[in-house]
């Protein structure tokens, strides 16, 4: 079936480096450094990535960081809470723009 997203394409992520290998190299090194244990644990970083993946609605990232979260020892309960955090910020972000709507309505209204 034709679709814009193909699960197998995740494994071909590196293909994007073919036309710009130096940029890909820099990105890969930076990316690997970001996810190393630091002030945050690898598990915490994986859960943040999982939440962000849902916010940016990247199916590749959701697959990848669901697996990574499990392999870093996160439980399905923790992963579900992380997605709720993403959803709450996303929903709250929409809702807080309601103030802008109210401001505009107030400006137009008598």
């Amino acid at each position: 079936m034709e679709t814009y997203y193909h699960p197998k394409d995740l494994a071909r992520f590196g293909d994007i480096g073919k036309e710009a290998p130096e940029l890909w190299q820099k990105f890969s090194e930076w990316y690997a450094a970001v996810f190393k244990e630091g002030a945050l644990s690898e598990r915490e970083k994986a859960l943040i990535a999982l939440a962000v993946a849902h916010t940016v609605q990247c199916p590749y990232c959701i697959d990848a960081y669901s697996t990574t979260s499990l392999e870093k020892g996160a439980t399905p309960e923790q992963m579900t809470e992380a997605v709720h955090v993403a959803a709450a910020i996303r929903g709250g972000s929409s809702l807080v723009h309601g103030v802008q709507m109210r401001n505009h309505v107030d400006k137009l209204s008598m």
Binding site: E71, G73, T75
Partner: protein, 347 residues
């Protein structure tokens, strides 16, 4: 109710040849032999034997979804008397320091107490791979006391500190029974610092992914099992699920087989090769045949042809340095931080 075994459900995978051919047919980036060669360890050979692992049979009161033995209540294979005698004589006349008793539920073997007592009398360290729920059966209620009196190390399976994940892998109600069993072991001093009674837990991932970091998980488990249930233990061992037997069936049925094998191959860690358990273990099957590990045993890969094949002709010198029989499933022991019956193999 226990899940059916592959044998009982007449699955083609009950035949080890089918399992081997299924794995062999998968397109992998490289073979295990190539990976070992690239790591500078080819051909893979054993060192001195430090663990004699007896698999005393496939009978079990549980039928876990990931079981590499295809054990269950309907299995009838139990270690014969002549095999037990030969194995104990081999142990007593060797200097192998540790005997690791596994199954199935090894305690279901009627001669389990005798194996323990003779091994202890010979001054050997004894490990019992216990499924915990066995101690909840009326005929085995005194098992924890027996193990404590004989200073047996208990290596107990518990995939998760959450009931849902544990029961999903091991069967409904297993978590509650396991918690009750762990409390009983704790009451006898098992897992308590300074008691000398060792209680180690084993966790296998509940699904098609690699285990989490053992050290970090151990801290989580100690905190959560104590906070939720007041339970203490010594060490947590994370073990990668091997793509054989009932776990292989799960991988096929869930459409995860190729991706899981690719994950194992990609995660090959050369540093995990040195500590592979096959390099220091001799595995004995219920019928007396010899293997490099319990996983090879379950897919009928006996020791290499130029080494002794049964416990009746076992000889420590002839078995030391033998060539290890390998296959695609071996990637399970070299992925990430490595995996063995004692958890990770890379610090």
């Amino acid at each position: 109710m226990a899940l059916p075994t592959l044998l009982n459900s007449r699955s083609p995978l009950a035949d080890s040849a089918t399992q081997r051919s299924t794995l062999a047919a998968l397109p992998l980036r490289r073979t295990f032999e190539e990976a070992i060669d690239a790591a500078g360890h080819a051909p893979l050979r054993t060192n001195e034997i430090s663990v004699l692992q007896l698999n005393v049979g496939k009978r079990c009161n549980q039928a876990c979804r990931h079981c590499h033995v295809d054990a269950g209540p309907d299995r009838t294979e139990v270690m014969r008397d002549d095999v037990i005698e030969a194995a104990l004589r081999f142990l007593e006349t060797s200097e192998i320091p540790t005997i690791d008793i596994t199954g199935g539920a090894p305690e279901l073997h009627p001669r389990f107490p005798e194996i323990v007592i003779r091994a202890r009398a010979a001054g050997r360290h004894v490990m019992d791979r216990c499924n915990l729920t066995i101690t909840r059966l009326p005929n085995y209620a005194d098992l924890p006391e027996f193990l404590a009196e004989n200073q047996v190390e208990v290596v107990a399976s518990l995939p998760s500190f959450a009931a849902r994940q544990t029961d999903a892998q091991r069967g409904a109600g297993v978590f509650d029974d396991s918690i009750a069993a762990l409390r009983r072991f704790n009451a006898l001093g098992y897992g308590v610092d300074g008691s000398g009674r060792t209680l180690n837990l084993v966790t296998n991932p509940v699904g098609a992914f690699l285990p989490g970091p053992q050290h970090a998980l151990e801290a989580d488990w100690k905190r959560e099992l104590f906070r939720r249930y007041g339970i203490v233990f010594n060490r947590l061992y994370t073990i990668t699920n091997m793509p054989i037997s009932r776990y292989l069936e799960f991988l096929i049925a869930s459409g995860n087989l190729q991706a899981y094998m690719d994950r194992l191959v990609t995660a090959f860690n050369p540093a995990a090769v040195e500590g592979l358990m096959c390099r220091y273990t001799l595995s004995v099957g219920w019928d007396g045949r010899l293997y490099d590990c319990d996983f090879n045993q379950m897919i009928d890969l006996t020791t290499s042809v130029d080494a002794p094949q049964t416990i009746f002709d076992a000889d420590v010198n002839a078995l030391t340095g033998r060539r290890i029989v390998i296959g695609p499933h071996c990637f399970g022991c070299t992925a990430g931080s490595g995996s063995s019956c004692g958890g990770v193999t890379v610090a």
